[in-house]
């Protein structure tokens, strides 16, 4: 039936091109479509699923915080930069959550994992979920997060699961650029005006303790990440914060949250509202494919 008078009906009608005129809803929603899903013999499927889920959740939550900068960044170019960095992380999240679903073997897709889990089921580090502060905090968080994630993914590029290894190899290219972006802003703000320097100092003091949860998770990258951070701070003429990264709790929220709790589903009060916004549209129509 054709109804040219109604724009929505004409959109829904059958077209001679078939669904090829649509970018979405064409059965291409799986970012790992066509990738051999088999796990190599000897790979611990549950451990692989947990690893992919944790790294996917880090990326998804960090991407959502970066997206919140759109329309709020200090200049248009920076807004575009933060959105693009978020987009890279969102892409990594899609691939990792898809892989997590396959390894888990319970039939959950990336959408099931992104949209239909509650806060206690998320495994992201607390650093990723903290609310956005000023631009210096944005830069400091991106510097810590991307320095750590770059080192982690670089190691995973040699993982025994070829799919995780390939996702990590691609991520290394992207994270290198993200870390450089944050590092260059750290230098610019630290070595800028008195105001920008003070803000950068405050942001680093505030976020430095979160290195504790990152290193607790991935102790083998500690030296490498600290070395890179010291190099950036030296170039920015900023002191290394004296707050010890091994502090067991931080004031992540009104209630002190246990550092490292994110990987066990123990989150600050800030994750639930973030997820509520992220998941609201999908949950309003659970049968839809996005």
């Amino acid at each position: 039936m054709t109804d040219d008078d109604h724009v929505y009906l004409s959109l829904a009608e059958n077209s001679p091109e078939g669904d090829a005129r649509w970018a979405f809803g064409t059965g291409f929603e799986d970012p790992l479509h066509g990738v051999d899903p088999a796990l190599p013999p000897g790979v611990d499927a549950a451990a692989l699923a947990a690893r992919c889920l944790a790294l996917g959740d880090d990326a998804l939550v960090a991407a959502q915080r970066l997206a919140e900068w759109v329309t709020r960044a200090p200049e248009l170019e920076e807004e575009v930069a933060l959105a693009n960095i978020g987009l890279d992380l969102l892409g990594q999240a899609r691939l990792l959550l898809s892989r997590a679903g396959r390894a888990e073997g319970a039939g959950r897709t990336e959408d099931d994992l992104a949209y239909f889990r509650g806060p206690a089921e998320f495994r992201n580090v607390l650093l990723a979920e903290l609310p956005n502060g000023d631009f210096a905090e944005c830069v400091a968080r991106l510097l810590l997060f991307s320095s750590w994630r770059l080192a982690v993914l670089q190691r995973l590029a040699g993982d025994e699961d070829p799919v995780l290894a390939a996702i990590a190899s691609k991520g290394v290219q992207e994270l290198t650029y993200h870390r450089d972006h944050a590092a260059q802003w750290t230098v610019r703000l630290g070595d800028g005006t008195e105001e920008s320097r003070q803000r950068m100092l405050r942001a680093l003091d505030e976020l430095w303790p979160y290195l504790g949860e990152l290193f607790a998770e991935e102790p083998e990258v500690r030296d490498e990440v600290e070395c890179a951070l010291r190099q950036v701070l030296a170039a920015a003429e900023l002191p290394v914060p004296t707050v010890t990264p091994s502090a067991s709790t931080v004031a992540a929220s009104t209630v002190a949250v246990e550092l490292g709790g994110g990987r066990r589903g123990r989150h600050s009060e800030h994750l639930a509202p973030l997820l509520e916004e992220l998941q609201s549209v999908a949950r309003s129509d659970p049968e839809a494919t996005w």
């Binding site: 790992l32 170019e77 930069a81 693009n84 987009l87 770059l150 390939a166 691609k170 290394v172 950036v232």
Partner: protein
């Protein structure tokens, strides 16, 4: 498809499928074909000549153009008479800007976009930091001057940076090295 494993598709069919897939335009840089961009990894056709399978690699993990590329490949190959089209994701080895062909680079420059220099070499060990804007020579695609500067590390897409030519004063995009 009984003899799929032992027989080849009719002569010329695979070459035609390859040609159709290769000529699909990139949705974000439409002066380039997918072949110019270097994202087509393989094209094969079933023994009966009806089904085509295309390997496509993403430029960036989150590149939104990938869904468009898949849809465009599907549409073009169906229009060319293939009843079944499968577009597979190929993740390894990861795409780098070195996969952009010489012809692709020439087309970018002709359309006012500076092509990328050589992709960074990945040595083993920690990835080195770049603490100041790169001083690499990027030639202005408009006037040919090498006196250009970076104005933003990200432009309209993840794959481009924004630069300005000090000689002709024009801003331009550069496909950044990945």
């Amino acid at each position: 498809m009984v003899n799929a494993a032992v027989s080849d598709p009719p002569a010329g069919v695979e070459a035609r499928a390859r040609e159709v897939a290769a000529s699909v335009a990139d949705p974000e840089l439409p002066m380039l074909t997918l072949a110019d961009l270097g994202v087509l990894r393989d094209v094969s056709v079933s023994a009966d000549g009806a089904a085509v399978s295309v390997g496509l690699t993403p430029t960036y993990s989150g590149c939104p153009a990938v869904a468009e590329m898949r849809a465009a490949l599907d549409g073009a190959l169906r229009a060319a008479g293939f009843a079944e089209v499968e577009v597979r994701t190929v993740l390894s080895p990861p795409w780098t800007t070195d996969w952009i062909t010489a012809e692709g680079r020439a087309k970018l420059a002709a359309h006012g976009i500076a092509p990328p220099g050589p992709a960074p070499v990945r040595a083993s060990g920690p990835v080195p930091l770049t603490l100041s804007p790169v001083r690499a020579v990027v030639v202005c695609p408009r006037c040919g001057s090498a006196d250009t500067e970076e104005t933003s590390r990200f432009s309209a897409t993840a794959c481009t940076a924004l630069r300005r030519c000090r000689a002709c004063r024009e801003p331009f995009d550069q496909v950044k090295e990945l």
